[in-house]
Amino acid sequence: MELAKFDQTPLQMTVLTFTLIMFLGAYCAGFIGSLSGLGGGVVIIPLLTTMLHVDIHYAIGAALVSVIATSSGSAAAYVKEGITNMRLGMFLEIATTIGAISGALLAAIAPTSFIAVLFGCTLIFSSLNSLRKKEAHTVEHSSPLALALKLPATYPDRTKQIAYGTKNVIGGFSMMALAGMLSGLLGIGSGAFKVIAMDNIMKIPFKVSTTTSNFMMGVTATASAVIYLQKGYIEPAICMPAVIGVLLGAMTGASILIKADPKKLRLFFSVIIILLAINMIYNGILGKI
């Protein structure tokens, strides 16, 4: 392997050290991710690039694999409870997968500093978005397109089933394509964008939006992950501690979330994430990434 060409002493450590640091970092990433509502994959990338000096492509690969793991893992719970709208998810996945493939192919030609800056901005946006107050609303009269696609459904709320409809299908579809592209380009789950598409644009109840978004993330990430795999972005030695660490961290975070005040936690961790994002942007602009 060639030596790095940066003007800083190349970071050299043993496999064991690297794996342990990676695992601890991923654990924190999963923990922070689940408490801030953003998912662990996003924190892994700043961690890997700015602290461990790993090339951003490997970092994105590892983050993408983590997204698939957390998505499939948590989606299992929500789907069983019957909140996820699978038709909605399947239909919108047309948009997200096409977007994801475009993003992944774009990642090959885009300069890494651009990816770093874009990543930082997206992270800040998603973080601020998770702090926003969500309005509760239910659509009574769905649009004709929504009805044709059989999108209206019901979801269980304690003892009863609440029926809901949707509209602005084309708008939601377009936003989903953007979300998919960001996912393929940056290795994130784009949960914030997916929820904006469903919650704000398509006026779907918040609970359904978040669970369906989670459900969709796995398929979206897989669409770009296969391209990443063939381009060699998926390095097993990095992915392994990353995925396991993120999952365990996310599970720990989820169990704490139940007992603590979600709002204060979100605020605290969002601040941390914004700091990480600013750091990424700074490094990206300076060309260090």
Binding site: M1, E2, L3, A4, F6, L11, Q12, M13, T14, V15, T17, L52, H53, V54, D55, I56, H57, Y58, I68, S72, G73, A75, A76, A77, V79, K80, G82, T84, M86, M90, F91, I94, T97, I98, A100, I101, A104, L105, A108, L149, K150, G218, V219, T222, A225, V226, I227, L229, Q230, K231, G232, I234, E235, P236, A237, I238, C239, M240, V243, I244
Partner: protein, 130 residues
């Protein structure tokens, strides 16, 4: 429109949920085992991930190399096998949704699901020829 579907929505959700959960745990266990094998063989080696060399493999050579590596008990290959299985969970979910929509006699969504599966196949076979 509904003419006696063989499978209810809730059944479909339950099966898919269970499939996802087991899929994730199995693939991660395999990756963990591979990880341990890798660690015990290479713990003192120096790590260098700062530069990135872009590869141009197609999916078939990736799969082939992985299986050969697994046969030889190479840790990295076993990890990759676990990762590949992880990729499989959403894909299997799509296939299962396809079957479920078919049993529900929802042919519109059979078509939509096939389209999404087609997009992913496109990604698999086209991805390397950039």
């Amino acid at each position: 429109m509904k003419n006696k579907p063989l499978l209810k929505d809730t059944d479909m959700q339950f099966i898919i949920g269970t499939l996802l959960r087991y899929g994730v745990w199995i693939s991660l266990s395999i990756a963990a085992i591979g990880g341990l094998i890798y660690l015990f063989g290479h713990e003192a080696e120096l790590v260098q991930y700062q530069t990135f060399k872009e590869h141009d493999h197609d999916i078939f050579s990736v799969l082939q190399n992985t299986f050969i590596g697994v046969m030889h008990g190479r840790g990295r290959s076993i990890i990759l096998l676990g990762v590949l299985l992880l990729f499989l969970t959403p894909i299997l979910r799509l296939v299962f949704s396809l079957v479920a929509f078919f049993f529900e006699k929802d042919y519109l969504y059979v078509g939509i699901t096939l389209f999404v599966i087609g997009i992913i196949c496109f990604s698999i076979f086209f991805g390397f020829a950039h």
